[in-house]
């Protein structure tokens, strides 16, 4: 159970851990699945951009504008290096949510094979976060396409027995999460990606819960598009990434229209710039891109394999602990097989809100409720869950407080 890096040193890189919670308690932050904390490296990178390089990128030939453009395009290159892809294929968005909406709308507007039309089929799963369900659901409604999905088994895996009915010759897009944000389960994607490609469909990976936590080889996985949010990866709020294969992005229509994404414009007609600019209208979120770069470098320095293995250690310790508490039921995967560092549970007879409220008294930050995944929650037959999620700054004592606080919550209501 020795961490592969100095967790105490890591924790001290994150200033928020100096704050006191309710009742003077220290912060036990177990909600990184919702958003992660930020190290000084990221905060300072944003500050440095504002104090040293700030100007509108791509729009001026003066010294500061050159600096700003170099910083922004340098950030793009760093993201590309992190993903081992070409920098032209990296599009900055404000969030994964925007990234998924961008893809759905761009498919809708695109011509030919990439376009989505009435009768086409779009495939998702019951695991999805609303951000990877609603853009496709609403796209289907607008176009007359048909939304299909893989059902979830109660262990958090996907039911692939009917894969041939779900993915058919009519399928145009398959969009699935790399890891459930509620249960931590990792669906078996290779057969799904293979089936999608076998019928000429595009595979979109919602990598929100994976990219920050483990090495992901997008080329080896064979996905066509991927999206994630910076704020869950130790980066700033207000930045996300879409990666897509250049030969596809090059054929796709823009999402946002405005400055810097055009080739030429008249009152009645316009043509578009090459990728990635085509998908980045307006003065971009420059400082946030630079902050994300700092975050990815920070994570890379520690090493994604190390981060992942430490999270697995924490998860296993927490999972065992929770499973041993009488009155507590862990949902989804019960073992360390095919799962990441997220655990959902319920306490008998208690509403998750009440559980979370007592845990808060211990300084424990967990999320309670439906976690923006209502179909999954309904499938589980619960009103919501309490969810603990881990990141590189957590240590075993955080898990100890977690377990103590869950028992505390159970007992608080029992004895009254």
């Amino acid at each position: 159970m020795n961490p592969p890096f100095d967790v105490a040193a890591i924790k001290s890189d994150f200033p928020i851990f100096e704050e006191k919670m309710r009742g003077g308690k220290r912060l036990v932050f177990l909600d990184s699945g919702a958003t992660s904390q930020k190290p000084w490296a990221v905060i300072n990178a944003e500050r440095d951009f504002y104090t040293k390089h700030n100007a509108a990128v791509h729009r001026g030939s003066y010294y500061l504008a050159e600096q700003a453009s170099a910083a922004y395009e340098g950030a793009r290159q760093s993201v590309a290096d992190f993903l081992s892809v070409d920098s032209d294929e990296v599009i900055f968005t404000k969030s994964a949510t925007e990234g998924l909406n961008l893809l759905a709308t761009s498919f809708e507007r695109s011509a030919g094979q990439l376009g989505i039309r009435a009768g086409d089929e779009i495939v998702v799963s019951e695991l999805e976060h609303h951000a990877n369900l609603l853009p496709w659901q609403q796209l289907a409604k607008r176009t007359g396409a048909v939304l299909k999905w893989f059902s979830m088994n109660l262990d958090g895996s996907l039911d692939l027995t009917n894969i041939d009915e779900v993915i058919t010759e009519k399928t145009k897009v398959v969009a699935i999460t790399h890891q459930s944000n509620v249960l931590g389960s990792v669906p078996d994607l290779p057969p799904i990606i293979a089936a999608a490609h076998a019928v000429g469909a595009r595979f979109v990976l919602d990598a929100c819960q994976s990219i920050p936590h483990m090495p992901v080889d997008v080329r080896a996985m064979g996905v066509d598009f991927l999206t994630f949010s910076g704020h869950k990866a130790a980066g700033p709020t207000g930045i996300g990434v879409v990666w897509g294969r250049a030969e596809l992005l090059n054929q796709m229509e823009p999402y946002l229209y405005g400055g810097s994404m055009i080739e030429s414009v008249t009152m009645t007609d316009s043509t578009w710039a090459a990728i990635p600019r085509r998908f980045e209208a307006g003065v971009p979120n420059m400082a946030q891109a630079v902050g994300l770069e700092a975050a990815l470098k920070y994570l890379s320095n520690i090493g994604l394999p190390n981060i992942h293995s430490w999270e697995m250690t924490l998860t296993e310790y927490a999972l065992r602990g929770l499973q041993e508490i009488e009155g507590v039921r862990v949902l989804g995967p019960q073992s360390m097989q095919a799962r990441g560092g997220v655990i959902s549970f319920v306490v008998d007879g208690l509403h998750p809100h009440d559980v979370g409220q007592v845990m808060d008294q211990y300084g424990v930050a967990v999320r309670t409720g439906h976690h923006c995944a209502w179909p999954l929650i309904r499938k589980l037959g619960v009103v919501g869950t309490t969810r603990a999620s881990f990141y590189l700054y957590n240590d075993l004592s955080d898990v100890d407080v977690l377990l103590e606080s869950v028992i505390g919550a159970r007992d608080y209501f029992r004895k009254r």
């Binding site: 509403h351 809100h353 007592v358 919501g384």
Partner: protein, 145 residues
């Protein structure tokens, strides 16, 4: 413990044995949801000669939302629309007070037990859910509240 100011005895009693909870039967039914947490309430009532009657509700949610619905139903059933309106406004104000006021027991009766909720901003919506449903149903029943 700070928590006890939130989870008053009265609240847990109402939570465990909610009043006026059952299948709403009135013609006009309202359904409210707290999208943050998924708490839901369905509620019906009738208004006869300016008096709130037959308020029945059903729902799922945390102890705060369930207790608040139960307390509210006791409080407004049988009251005039005007009196219920006073309670509604006073309760809303209490919830938004961030712990700075304690509420008038004359007006709010058991609902003053919920005063502690106002110190927990994330729970205010839980406590208000049923009251907003009541307000909506009253308006749909033609009351000016």
């Amino acid at each position: 413990m700070e928590l006890d100011s939130l989870y008053q005895e009265v609240i847990l009693d109402h939570y465990k044995k909610p009043h006026n909870k059952g299948l709403p039967v009135g013609e006009i039914q309202v359904h409210h949801v707290n999208p943050n947490c998924g708490d839901e309430i369905t509620l019906s009532l009738s208004i006869k000669d300016g008096v709130v009657e037959d308020l029945i509700w059903d729902g799922v949610g945390c102890s705060i939302s369930q207790a608040s619905a139960s307390i509210m139903s006791d409080l407004v059933n049988g009251k005039s629309v005007a009196q219920a309106g006073v309670a509604l406004r006073e309760f809303t104000e209490l919830m938004q007070s961030k712990g700075n006021i304690s509420g008038d027991e004359e007006v709010l009766e058991d609902a003053i037990a919920l005063a502690g909720v106002s110190k927990f901003p994330a729970r205010v919506k839980c406590a208000l859910l049923s009251w907003m449903a009541f307000k909506d149903a009253a308006i749909q029943n033609g009351a000016e509240i």
